[in-house]
């Protein structure tokens, strides 16, 4: 079964601090995504990747960086965390290459980030 693991599960950070959210998938999927989920906004795409070494900006990339060092790992980095980045973050991998419209997304369980 497709597996996406996120760490940490919960994180409390201070304003201005650096935060790294990690995601690992054992699906051998090329595509990986980072979303944030906020009440009233549904899921919004932050960054995505089509393979190791590549990252692309999503709909709300400001204040976030992404890193895809390998097929399995995709990190989301907040260099200078702000309270507005308090949210639940989801990582997903996609099972069809090239971002095909038929792609099914497999989600991790989420990271709840609180920035004080």
């Amino acid at each position: 079964e497709a597996a996406v693991t996120q760490s940490p599960r919960n994180k409390v950070a201070v304003t201005g601090g650096k935060v790294t959210l990690s995601c690992n998938q054992t699906n051998n999927h090329n595509n990986m995504y980072w979303y944030r989920q906020d009440t009233g906004h549904g899921l919004r795409l932050i960054h995505y990747s089509y393979g190791a070494g590549s990252t692309e900006k999503g709909d709300i990339p400001d204040g976030y960086k992404a890193s895809r060092p390998s097929q399995e790992n995709f990190s989301l980095i907040l260099e200078l965390a702000t309270p507005s980045q308090t949210s639940v973050y989801f990582c997903a991998s996609g099972d069809v290459g090239g971002g095909s419209s038929a792609e099914t997304l497999y989600f991790g369980s989420g990271t709840r980030l609180t920035v004080l």
Partner: protein, 113 residues
């Protein structure tokens, strides 16, 4: 423009009752449409998806959805709900000409015992 609308933020039904969760989409071509479910403190999981063929598509756990091009809808149905179906359900649209994914805002389903 592409968009997905789930007009009901919250739906409450009694256990054993039938269910319909509504989804309306806006897309000029033929879209890929998905329903995902999110249980508390978990990520989203695929229930079913549709692109072409029979407009009624079967999913997991007794769920089905019906695509209607004339109504621009993709409503989710279940004949008899169980308390374990309580979750948030997301309708998702993906166009076949680009890589954009559009999530609805979700409908929270509450199943009363």
């Amino acid at each position: 423009a592409q968009s997905v609308t789930q007009p009901d933020a919250r739906v409450t039904v009694s256990e054993g009752a039938s269910l319909q969760l509504r989804c309306k989409y806006s897309y000029s071509g033929t879209p890929y449409l998905f329903w995902y479910v999110q249980y508390p403190r978990q990520g989203l999981q695929l229930l079913l998806k549709y692109y072409s063929g029979d407009p009624v598509v079967q999913g997991v756990n007794g769920f089905e959805a019906e695509f209607s091009k004339s109504n621009s809808s993709f409503h989710l149905r279940k004949a008899s709900v169980h308390w374990s179906d309580s979750a948030v359900y997301f309708c998702v649209l993906r166009g076949n000409s680009n890589n954009r994914i559009f999530f609805g805002d979700g409908t929270q389903l509450v199943v009363k015992p």
